[in-house]
């Protein structure tokens, strides 16, 4: 750790933000045990670390949500205590939280100016707020969104845009972004980077958190790595530090290449799921696809192209208006999740917070949410068995901390995602539908999850995978379907196509 000291000493220009030795614990969990961070004006400072390393906790300390137990925060040279979020905003620190924090019932404009409404004597100036909101949206490349749209009707990606617009609506010197790209597709990430460059050109500093190393390379200036609540390296160069070194700093070990080898699907493998002419009026049409045991089929496309809707319709969460789904020979009732689950289909949905997890429940209850009735005897729960089975899956997925009784809310984002995966591993699921399975999951765990998905396939599961990361679709799937605007644009073997090729198809689809 020798470069840590040297980096700090080399740092002659007084940083905008200087954090030393921050500690913070929650009921028994030492989340931060001494974190240092220096952020200079006009730089993009990336914070890297595994799930549960303490990144979100650190930024919540900086945004006034949590109060640190110890340590010093200097802001523009002065020692400060950040008492609450409003104080942080007053100082010029705006934050986009990891979990979307918009109010569904309010309009886009109302969300953007929540807490600092445009008003005169208590009377809202709606037109002015809408105008200002539109300006912000245009600046973010989303002039197509109407400021008076209710946020609850937006996709996750668009909610993220609103959250970003809100951060920009304050006069800020530092914007903290906690995994903003997790819900964005490649096009929107590019958009985000354009905005970030604009901001830094105006002298605003950005703290950027992401598990995608290639993004750090593209946008970052310097990197701070956090592991187990400690900063392992402060102010590394985002351009020159080798990936292997970053991974070792983050995980304490070397992680071999992420994608597992493909296992050829035997020619006589049975078709487990057969989808013919599936359609949902106004969303997508005529999707036909069959997946054999052991096969992974990836759906690539832009956010909003209808991929999630296709998965949800296969699963019965939306009622198909055309076509049919057959699992191992028997036809499923359209619009019945129960029939799908019964037939052996599992879905890990895209939005884990609103669609996947009961955040206030214990972890094991989330893991067994789809299966507790199978463990029960005569309607009576077998909680011991549930705990035991959950713990097995938690260990298999290296879910940390491996405590089935913990409230799911207190897990880090990536570990929450693992809970969701664990749910469908408890009982042999024949067909697994994965919607963004590695959103918010760190490099180490990502490799584990990829290996796990491959292992499941090798054991005879049919898998349909949706991901905004084209690299992930190509790296993991045997076959790639490119979806554009509710249509299947192409079906190709993953070997026969590369990232560029998929991107071209996606763009062509978007253009037509």
């Amino acid at each position: 750790m020798c470069y840590v000291a040297s980096m700090i000493d080399d740092d002659h220009s007084a940083p905008l933000l200087r954090v030393r030795g921050i500690t913070k614990s929650f009921a028994g969990v030492q989340a931060l045990q001494g974190v240092d961070l220096d952020v200079r004006a006009a730089e993009v400072h990336c914070v890297l670390g595994q799930n549960g390393a303490g990144k979100s906790t650190l930024i919540k300390v900086l945004s006034g949500v949590h109060h640190p137990d110890g340590g010093v925060i200097r802001w523009q040279g002065d020692e400060v205590t950040i008492a609450h979020p409003v104080a942080a905003l007053g100082m010029g620190i705006a934050t986009m939280y990891q979990e979307l924090d918009v109010v569904d019932g309010l309009t886009i404009a109302e969300n953007i100016f929540l807490g600092h409404e445009r008003a005169a004597g208590g009377v809202l100036k709606v037109a002015e707020a809408n105008r200002a909101a539109r300006e912000l949206l245009v600046r973010l490349g989303h002039g197509n969104l109407s400021p008076s749209t209710e946020v609850g009707r937006l996709s996750a990606a668009n909610k993220q845009i609103v959250s970003m617009a809100r951060a920009l609506s304050h006069d800020t010197k530092l914007i903290i972004m906690d995994e903003p790209s997790a819900v964005l597709d490649s096009e929107e990430v590019r958009n985000l980077f354009r905005v970030i460059r604009e901001l830094t050109a105006q002298g605003v500093a950005v703290v950027y958190i992401s598990h995608r190393l290639e993004e750090i390379r593209q946008i970052g200036d310097r990197i701070t790595v956090i592991k187990d609540g400690r900063s392992m390296a402060v102010g590394l160069s985002a351009q020159d530090t080798p990936t292997a070194e970053l991974i070792t700093l983050m995980t304490g070990r070397a992680v071999a290449n992420v994608f597992p080898d493909r296992v050829p699907v035997p020619a006589d493998a049975p078709v487990l799921i057969d989808i013919t002419g599936l359609g949902l009026r106004g969303q997508f049409a005529d999707v036909s696809l069959s997946v054999r045991a052991g096969e992974i089929v990836g759906l690539a496309g832009l956010v909003g192209s209808g991929r999630s809707e296709i998965l949800e319709t296969i699963y019965g969460a939306r009622k198909a208006t055309a076509g049919q789904v057959t699992v191992t020979g028997s036809r499923l009732t359209a619009g019945s999740v129960r029939a799908a689950v019964h037939a052996g289909i599992g879905l890990a949905p895209e939005e884990r917070k609103s669609q996947g997890l009961i955040l206030d429940e214990q972890v094991y209850r989330n893991v067994t949410l789809a299966t507790f009735a199978r463990f029960a005897r005569g309607g009576f729960l077998d909680e011991r068995r549930e705990r035991q089975v959950s713990l097995e899956q938690m260990n298999a997925l290296e879910l940390r901390p491996a405590d089935p009784d913990r409230a799911t809310r207190t897990l880090s984002g990536g570990n929450q995602q693992k809970v969701l995966l664990a749910r469908w591993l408890v009982h042999g699921t024949k067909v697994l539908l994965l919607d963004e399975p590695t959103r918010g999951v760190d490099v180490g765990a990502r490799a584990e999850i990829y290996a796990l998905i491959r292992r499941l396939a090798a054991a005879g599961t049919a898998i349909i995978l949706v991901s905004s990361e084209i690299e992930e679709v190509i790296g993991l799937a045997d076959r790639v379907l490119v979806i554009g605007d509710g249509e299947v644009l192409s079906t190709t073997d993953a070997d026969a196509i590369d990232e560029r090729g998929v991107l071209d198809l996606v763009m062509k689809g978007a253009a037509t």
Partner: protein, 354 residues
């Protein structure tokens, strides 16, 4: 960033599972006490303390008049009818719903069961008829509530408010706003009987509470109820038939209203449309003071029972001391606010998200 730090973390890494295990064991060890505290006793500790305090106040102010076996039985008997209603309501609230119709459905069930024609039929066949009819009325109302809410997508507050008004109106209509005296002796004998010195009403309360505790905490039905209240969409996507389950939950609430109707008929020996007026508010207060989250996702039968007992003890203390009922109302209001404030402290959830 010393060498030492690195050594520690490196050590952690070589054996991640054991490192993790140690952490959680370390967390759990001093927690035998903590476990108890965070278990059902601890979560209800505040309520138990409140109840004990009320008991002390009662004993000091009213002496033996308060602290006698007879009076204690009176308190519990007084609590039993609202208690049974509150227990059914606990399920509804835990599932993220509300049932405002419980009191008026109970009233309706007493009216239907005490109709002259029904009583005559009961005398001819069996008094059991007068037990079955209130149950049927409660179930019917619960079924309507459940279907309108789950399949009609009507907000529970409005649907059950409509049921409250309609059931009250129906009860007035069929009784002609008259009080109908119960003369069926078999039924009266049954409902006014004692078992080992304890009145039947108390037994019913006890049995319903125990069964409900099992149902909520130990069965798939209970798990589904909590899950739906915690996150309806996630529960649906896990393959649970949420709508159907919600119908069951409202049926249960209707059933307990019907049971309360039988108890009311027995205690007052009369059926009238005014029975159960404002019971819904007392029941909601008891449930929420007991610690069930009004937004759903967490429910406690023990808490509800304690909540009901606190209110009935309070009433008893006031009556024993011949105090004004208005003062009693004010105290009740205070207790509700204080209890809810305390609950939030105890059950304080961490800040949301990671």
């Amino acid at each position: 960033m010393s060498e030492q730090n690195e050594a520690v973390t490196a050590g952690d890494q070589t054996q991640p599972p054991s490192g993790v295990g140690q952490k959680s064991v370390g967390q759990n060890r001093p927690s035998v006490f903590r476990r108890i505290l965070s278990g059902s006793v601890g979560r209800n500790l505040g309520l138990v303390i409140a109840l004990v305090l009320l008991g002390i106040v009662g004993t000091i102010t009213a002496g033996d008049r308060f602290a006698s076996v007879d009076n204690l039985l009176t308190i519990i008997r007084f609590a039993s009818i609202i208690g049974v209603i509150s227990i059914g309501l606990t399920f509804v609230i835990t599932a993220g719903g509300i049932d405002l119709s419980v009191g008026s459905v109970m009233g309706l069930s007493t009216v239907v069961a005490s109709l002259a024609a029904v009583q005559a039929a009961a005398t001819q066949s069996s008094w059991i008829l007068m037990v079955l009819i209130p149950l049927g009325v409660g179930l019917a109302a619960g079924l309507v509530n459940g279907i309108v809410i789950a399949y009609g997508n009507v907000v529970a507050f409005m649907a059950t408010l409509a049921m409250l008004v309609a059931a009250r109106g129906l009860a007035e209509l069929i009784s002609g706003r008259r009080t109908q005296i119960v003369i069926e002796t078999g039924f009266l004998q049954f409902t006014r009987s004692d078992v080992i010195g304890v009145p039947l009403l108390i037994w019913i309360f006890l049995i319903v509470a125990v069964l409900a505790w099992f149902l909520l905490n130990r069965t798939t039905f209970g798990r589904r109820t909590v899950a739906i209240g915690g996150n309806r969409e996630a529960t649906r996507l896990a393959g649970i038939r949420v709508k159907r389950h919600l119908v069951y939950v409202y049926l249960l609430s209707g059933l307990t209203a019907g049971i309360a109707g039988i108890m009311m008929l027995g205690r007052t020996t009369a059926g009238t449309s005014t029975h159960g007026g404002l019971y819904e508010l007392d029941a909601i207060a008891a449930v929420v003071v007991g610690g069930t989250l009004l937004i759903g996702g967490r429910g406690t039968i023990v808490g509800t029972v304690l909540g009901v007992l606190i209110f009935s003890t309070l009433t008893n203390v006031f009556t024993q001391n011949n105090l004004d009922t208005s003062v009693q109302q004010i105290t009740k209001g205070l207790i509700i606010v204080i209890a809810v404030l305390l609950q939030q402290r105890f059950a304080s959830r961490g800040p949301s998200g990671t």
